[in-house]
């Protein structure tokens, strides 16, 4: 069962024991009902799964709900594909995603990656209102890719990240090397090198990605991934 952001609330503040901790009229409920009122979230359900090969490369093996991920790449060198490849596993398991500010999404490439198109909302041209649209969508989706059309201001970034933390969504910011995200992210993917393998056509692209983050994610490293490979998917290099 999908628990959603309500689960966090159940765990911390409204568990049955705490609700009536200081009340003299503690209602007597059947034991099986009480059991359902106990905290139901585990660390795992607060993680969104990552597909191959990211599961093995990212600390914790997934994306923590409420965290902000920054994907940074020089223009045209695989940043968009990388951001989209982070959606695949969650999308396959029924989570909703939205993509804001990607003007002309390559639908075939997105489908080839393994993203379920039926659960992706695109807001291609949010014009000046990209941050507002993103905030609107945060309540409705589990993963949100945002490509700010211009450099995001510090205030906008902070408001958005606070909201993400509160709602338990995962925000994936797609930033170009020239316009970095103004705040430190929980997890960051930096494309440092991109190399195409070719035959009689474009075959596969080898991306060198530096994965880094805060806390347990701090000990990152450089990895080579194939994105996209000959079938349009992502795999370990």
């Amino acid at each position: 069962m999908e628990i959603g952001p309500l689960a966090d609330v159940t765990e911390s503040r409204y568990s049955y024991e705490r609700m009536f901790a200081f009340s003299p009229h503690r209602p007597i409920l059947p034991a099986d009902l009480v059991a359902t009122l106990r905290p139901v979230t585990f660390a795992k359900s607060r993680m969104l799964p990552l597909g191959e090969p990211w599961g093995a490369l990212v600390p914790g093996g997934g994306l923590r709900r409420g965290s902000t991920v920054v994907v940074q790449a020089p223009p045209g060198l695989g940043g968009l594909s990388l951001a989209l490849s982070l959606l695949t596993e969650s999308s396959a398991r029924g989570h909703w995603a939205a993509v804001v500010g990607v003007d002309d999404p390559g639908v075939v490439a997105i489908a080839d990656l393994g993203v379920d198109l039926r659960r992706v909302l695109f807001v291609p041209r949010p014009r000046g209102a990209w941050a507002e649209s993103a905030a609107d969508l945060l309540d409705g989706v589990d993963l949100l890719i945002v490509r700010p059309p211009s450099r995001a201001s510090l205030g906008t970034a902070r408001r958005l990240m606070d909201r993400v933390r509160e709602r338990g969504t995962v925000l994936i910011v797609l930033a170009e090397s020239g316009a970095p995200w103004p705040l430190p992210a929980d997890l960051s993917f930096d494309v440092t090198q991109s190399q195409w393998a070719t035959s009689s056509r474009l075959d596969a692209r080898y991306l060198t990605v530096r994965v880094a983050g805060r806390g347990e994610a701090a000990r990152g490293g450089e990895h080579v991934v194939v994105l996209p490979n000959r079938r349009g998917r992502c795999e370990a290099g």
Binding site: L77, L80, W96, P105, D112, L117, L121, R127, A129
Partner: protein, 359 residues
């Protein structure tokens, strides 16, 4: 002009108050689409399909006529009147009279018609007073003389009469396609795209509410959803429709020989950007009729004077789809720039266009 088979079903041209006419028409269109995927709804009571392809498949025009007539009888229970001629105007006239005009004789057939079939009484009456009784005699007038005496509508008729235009202005019912789509939406599984997602959970409702909020903020077309349909190249296979619009019927199920294989560009431009492809000596590169490049690509110029060196290319892969009617020739080319970016270009109408970025 394309050789068309027109299907005239007298009983379906008057709309019944219970909507049964449109339903029968829609059912007939579906059935005929199985015989020929390019069957077009023209207006109530009239359909047309290009006869050349099917006649090769069924083994001659006679066989196509028999198959179509049988289909109409089976689906609607009415006897159709069929006609074959070049262009929609002549095909309709032929269908109403049940004639098959042999290839090459359409011109003669059209010229022999009475002026009344053009459907404008004022033009017919005036011409009659001038001693012009047939379409042919009207066609022999100089266009300038027609323009002097009549209005622009008559000039359009004149173009049809001369065989320069395949159909009359009012021949097609432009709203019919939309009405058919609405009809299918009502009869289908779900009216909205959302209904297509199988079981609905709490997540679907939350997403729906979020999409509504963005739509209120940015307008009805701001949120789009994507799906795939059949096609050979990425820009043809992608469908992006505003969220909440009825689902497109087409699904990607048939094999497409010659399909451009993965990887596909992560950015597919809805409006291709014109670019210039030049060789090392700064000469324009053109694609010859046999599908070869005139020179090896060396430089790519974007419209804003941005210049990039091309280090590698693959293709071109020519694509000729429905060459008998659309006359659309395209060729796709993959290029790798010195900066490391990979792009998908197409050559069409002797120009180069940027259609995709392997971002």
């Amino acid at each position: 002009m394309e050789r068309l088979l027109a299907i005239w079903v007298e009983a379906l041209c008057e709309e019944a108050p219970d909507g049964s006419t449109l339903r029968d028409y829609s059912a007939l269109l579906d059935a005929l689409t199985i015989l020929c995927p390019f069957t077009e709804p023209v207006r109530l009571g009239l359909l047309a399909l290009p006869v050349r392809g099917p006649s090769r498949f069924f083994g001659g025009e006679e066989a196509v006529l028999a198959a179509v007539a049988q289909t109409v009888r089976d689906v609607t229970g009415h006897e159709p009147s069929l006609g074959v001629a070049d262009g929609l105007f002549c095909a309709e006239v032929a269908a109403r009279r049940g004639l098959v005009i042999v290839p090459g004789a359409t011109e003669q057939f059209r010229r022999s018609l009475s002026l009344k079939v053009l459907g404008r009484k004022d033009v017919a009456t005036t011409c009659q007073r001038l001693g012009l009784h047939t379409v042919g005699s009207f066609a022999d007038l100089e266009p300038a003389r027609v323009a002097e005496r009549f209005n622009k509508h008559a000039l359009a008729l004149h173009r049809v009469a001369r065989g320069e235009s395949p159909e009359l202005g009012g021949q097609r019912d432009l709203k019919l396609v939309k009405r058919l789509r609405q009809l299918r939406g009502e009869n289908g599984v779900g009216e909205e795209q959302m209904g297509f997602f199988g079981q609905r959970g709490a997540g679907d409702d939350r997403a729906e509410a979020a999409a509504h909020r963005v739509r209120r903020r940015l307008g009805a077309d701001a949120v789009v959803v994507a799906s795939l349909r059949g096609g050979r190249v990425p820009e043809d296979r992608a469908t992006l429709v505003p969220w909440g619009s009825p689902p497109s019927g087409a699904r990607d199920s048939a094999p497409w020989p010659g399909q451009l294989r993965a990887p596909s560009p992560a950015t597919t431009l809805a409006h291709p950007v014109a670019v210039q492809l030049r060789d090392g000596g700064d000469h324009q590169i053109v694609m010859g009729s046999r599908g070869f490049l005139s020179e090896t690509p060396g430089v790519l110029l974007f419209s804003n004077q941005m210049r990039r060196d091309v280090v590698w290319h693959a293709g071109p892969w020519p694509l000729m789809e429905r060459w008998w009617s659309l006359d659309r020739r395209r060729a796709h080319l993959q290029v790798l720039l010195a900066t490391g970016e990979a792009l998908l270009l197409t050559a069409e109408s002797s120009r180069w266009w940027l259609v995709g970025i392997y971002d």
